[in-house]
């Protein structure tokens, strides 16, 4: 074979060999386990909230023992309701995972509570199922290969306040001089995510003659709250109570501007009901 042809042929073969090696070296780590993604699934990730937002933290560790850098790793999410309306959108920034390194990516999903106005009521007291579109993308093999992974998963948010009860069998009447109070015990449960947050409880007593008294209290949420409210009642209401009558109680819990009310009735006072 003539020399110029031989050189050209060798050049072509060398080029093709280089491309083949690029492909082989990009596949090998996948087979040997050189690329690893660990998601900390303990406690379903860490979650927290404040008055304005909810945060879900998923620490993701990406280990790259391959040949090429993994560039522009991006995790983004979109939360949509049942009608497909977009409620929340967010993403991590671009992260690079160089060769031989282990990078911990703090994937934080922050949901602004105001963005969930349409489903907030349902979310706080009953829980709501939303759809989360998760999108993961990255570049590999000298940015020649783009890998993408999209998944739709159901995301259940809430309920935060459950099992609201007013213990009408334990109500009591107290007097301090000319002032009279009805002691009404109540209880409810709270999700771990919401513990430590501020809420308010409102208790209103009424009878056939109208409102006897009401009170609003600010409380700090705990995983299980068992407490009582002191409802101030008027002297006339007190006099009626002593004689014996049915009392209606409306107990409300307000959290994140959402209110749920539980109604009850009890008989208090002398004489038979």
């Amino acid at each position: 074979m003539k020399v110029p042809l031989l050189i050209t042929r060798l050049g072509i073969i060398a080029f093709k060999l280089i491309v083949a090696l690029i492909v082989i070296f990009s596949i090998l780590p996948l087979i040997n386990g050189g690329l690893n993604v660990d998601i900390d699934e303990t406690d379903d990730g860490q979650s927290s909230m404040d008055a304005n937002s909810m945060r879900y933290d998923f620490p993701i560790t990406i280990t790259n023992n391959g040949i090429y850098d993994i560039n522009d790793v991006t995790i983004s999410f979109t939360i949509v309701d049942d009608d497909g309306n977009e409620l929340v959108r967010g993403s991590t920034g671009n992260v690079d995972v160089p060769v031989g390194s282990e990078v911990e990516l703090d994937f934080r999903m922050t949901i602004n509570i105001d963005d969930l106005e349409d489903v907030k009521m349902e979310m706080v007291f009953n829980g709501t199922d939303l759809t989360m579109n998760l999108d993961v993308s990255a570049k590999y093999t000298m940015d020649l290969v783009n890998v993408g992974f999209q998944a739709d998963t159901e995301l259940t948010i809430g309920p935060f306040i459950t099992n609201i009860q007013v213990h009408t069998y334990s109500v009591n009447l107290e007097s301090e001089g000319s002032e009279h109070f009805m002691i009404v015990p109540y209880s409810f449960s709270c999700a771990d995510m919401a513990t430590g947050q501020d809420a308010s409880v409102h208790t209103e007593l009424s009878d056939n003659n109208g409102t006897m008294g009401n009170v609003t209290q600010q409380i700090e949420l705990q995983s299980y709250t068992y407490d009582q409210t002191r409802v101030p009642i008027t002297q006339e209401a007190y006099d009626r109570l002593i004689m014996g009558e049915y009392v209606n109680v409306a107990f409300s819990v307000n959290f994140l501007d959402c209110t749920s009310t539980v109604n009850g009735q009890f008989y208090y006072g002398g004489g038979s009901p």
Partner: protein, 365 residues
């Protein structure tokens, strides 16, 4: 008795023996080895016993056809290129080979056994693809005859030798004259292209599809459907490449008539690579919930560029061989190659053997 071109005066025993050995290895020894080995191996496996039995039934067919083809192959090799005798025996070998392969299907028995014990595989489609290559082999002896006929008649002094063509007045489009072409080289290159771009890829697709279909998984329905699309695209592109490759091989190196078809083949091959690479995107959709996307357009474009570099190769080939081809009198490649081999043989024979130098003796004054 004069048997014309079949006369034994034209027979070269040495060439005949070389030919019979080659044919025996290709059509008798190797197939027999594989048939015996696979039937023994398959019969040992519980799930493949039937196929092993079927394969062992091929042994007598391999023996009979192998011996017959080897015997005919002797005559094919013994007679010179360009003679009717060689054409006859070479065509007989090609037709016998087709019958040989057809007989190994055992009248559908092999198909049944494979379907029962492995997966649904259309052996008839595979045989039809084999037939494409076999048809080329059937025309090869005729092409060889056409290429070498005049040279053989010249050697046997039945026609006057052709005059060397002058390069004066020869323009680039004159390269397309049919007299410069070699049918044999054209068909050989066409067959090679058919194997590379049509037969082998389609066999791979048929086997892949049969294997994937046997898995019966919904998620790969899209993949098998894309294999169907790829099948037809590769068939049409492959046939185009095969057809144009004929002209690339037909015309000699250094001619524009070879360079231009070669360039067209390179361009189509680049598109072929792009298509076989699924245009750089691979998507798996699982139950409409999870989608995995692999975009390797960058790597695929590198492969396409690698294929495109062959255009440069053919340009260098044109530049390298053009002057030599012109000065050589615009010879066909097939005859040119033979002339070079004969020239080397003549030079080896004419070189005198060196006698050993005797040791120097001391001369007394």
């Amino acid at each position: 008795m004069n048997f014309g071109e079949f006369d034994r005066k034209f027979v070269k025993l040495g060439d005949g023996l070389k030919s019979v050995v080659l044919h025996a290895v290709k059509y008798l020894v190797l197939p027999l080895f594989f048939v015996v080995f696979f039937s023994f191996f398959l019969m040992k496996m519980d799930t493949m016993e039937t196929i092993g039995g079927i394969v062992s039934e091929m042994q007598p067919l391999v023996l009979i056809f192998g011996i017959v083809i080897s015997a005919v192959g002797f005559f094919k090799g013994a007679y010179p290129k360009g003679s009717y005798s060689r054409l006859t025996f070479a065509t007989a070998v090609a037709i016998l080979t087709i019958l040989y392969v057809w007989s190994l299907l055992l009248g559908g028995g092999l198909q049944e056994a494979v379907n029962d014990e492995i997966f649904e595989l259309d052996l008839m489609s595979l045989f039809m693809l084999y037939m494409v290559g076999a048809l080329f082999n059937t025309f090869l002896p005729l092409a060889e005859f056409i290429d070498h006929r005049h040279a053989w008649l010249e050697r046997s002094e039945q026609v006057a030798p052709r005059e060397k063509e002058s390069a004066d007045g020869h323009l680039w489009y004159h390269d397309f004259h049919l007299r410069y072409g070699s049918m044999f080289n054209g068909i050989v290159l066409s067959r090679r292209s058919a194997n590379k771009f049509v037969i082998v890829p389609l066999i791979v697709i048929i086997l892949l599809k049969a294997g994937l279909t046997s898995l019966d998984i919904d998620e790969i329905d899209a993949l098998t459907s894309s294999l169907d699309d790829a099948y037809y695209v590769m068939l049409y592109l492959g046939l185009a490449i095969t057809a144009i490759s004929f002209f690339k091989g037909f015309y000699p190196k250094g001619s524009f008539s070879r360079f231009l078809p070669a360039l067209i083949v390179v361009l189509i091959s680049m598109y072929w690579v792009w298509t076989i690479g699924l245009e750089g995107k691979f998507v798996i959709d699982a139950a409409d919930v999870v989608t995995f996307t692999l975009d390797y357009t960058g790597i695929l474009l590198l492969m396409v560029c690698g294929t495109g570099l062959w255009g440069v190769y053919y340009a260098v080939e044109l530049w390298t061989y053009r002057r030599e081809w012109k000065e050589g009198g615009f010879q066909k490649d097939a005859l040119e190659g033979e002339k070079k081999k004969k020239k080397v043989k003549r030079e080896r024979k004419s070189k005198p053997t060196e006698e050993p130098i005797p040791p120097q003796q001391n001369v007394q004054p």
